[in-house]
Symmetry: C2
Subunit: 200 residues, 2 copies
Amino acid sequence: MPTSSIVELTEALRCLPGVGPKSAQRMAYHLLQHDREGAQRLEKALGRALCVVHRCRRCNTWTELELCECCASPHRDSSLLCVVETPVDLNMMEQTHAYNGLYYVLMGRISPLDGLGARQLGLEALLSRALDGVVKEVVLATNFTNEGEATAHYLSEMLKAHAISVTRIARGVPVGGELEFVDSGTLAQALRERRRLVEI
Amino acid sequence: MPTSSIVELTEALRCLPGVGPKSAQRMAYHLLQHDREGAQRLEKALGRALCVVHRCRRCNTWTELELCECCASPHRDSSLLCVVETPVDLNMMEQTHAYNGLYYVLMGRISPLDGLGARQLGLEALLSRALDGVVKEVVLATNFTNEGEATAHYLSEMLKAHAISVTRIARGVPVGGELEFVDSGTLAQALRERRRLVEI
């Protein structure tokens, strides 16, 4: 039978998303046998992250400072505010190098099935952020899932009353996508939102 | 961009088997946002396991004591020595409640492609364990993979010279298995190793 500290480690590993009892057991034994150094690094990294990482006061993403890198930068266009669901989405946006504005991270999405409504998401904080007098345009970049779309709809309704421009990132055929393999919903949307190339 | 301690945590999580960059990132953000308590528990469990868990002096499995529970028990049949590849396999054997002997854990298998030969596995330790004068039968319970089979073959050859009985756990149709869905190799083996039910 496994010793109690291996049982504890196996149980503890199950806090990781997507890790069931079998994988947790495999992970625990792997660390003990093949990668004690890695386990030590993981222990330290967990301790450090838990200690120093908190929300950015301005955009709600994770940071070690008072303000995150984006919010603190003087080179960003503070008239643009992009709303994303998660810090990972923020990273994805940054990797495009196509956006130079600021962000607001919802840390979730409206999802009635999970009991997450507008109140649980703390959308008042977003509203007061958008109404700081500097923001001219809010770019909604929530996911194109049902919940992401519902969140975008709710936000656009919420912001409509406040004389602030609201946009949504475009939906369509992905770059490199072949029509043959694109689902018909995406294709229909791409057709509806077609851009004019030649004016006559 | 993610902060350095999130990057560190993400990197550190990749020491877990089967965790790539995307899952590691998802895990790091999940822990920070939804399960800081779990992360703390994991940090402590890692620290404790790394500190107290080491090899059993006698059977090579993981234990917190000088001897593991099995080896220390006076109720086990010390004339039987079951050889398994990993501590997880030992747990599986124990869960059958069909074996009351002792174990030896190889912590691996002979695998020339991974550069693991008889020397790397430290088979001399197994040999001296098997030749303690008390062991009468060595039960080979390595996996029925190519590498497990090769290991079993090597061990049986190694032990042959020492007037010690060597057995291999049976291969055949699994309990609850239907012939229709069993692969032909297994079925051929089950046929070759058929047991006599009625003596005439």
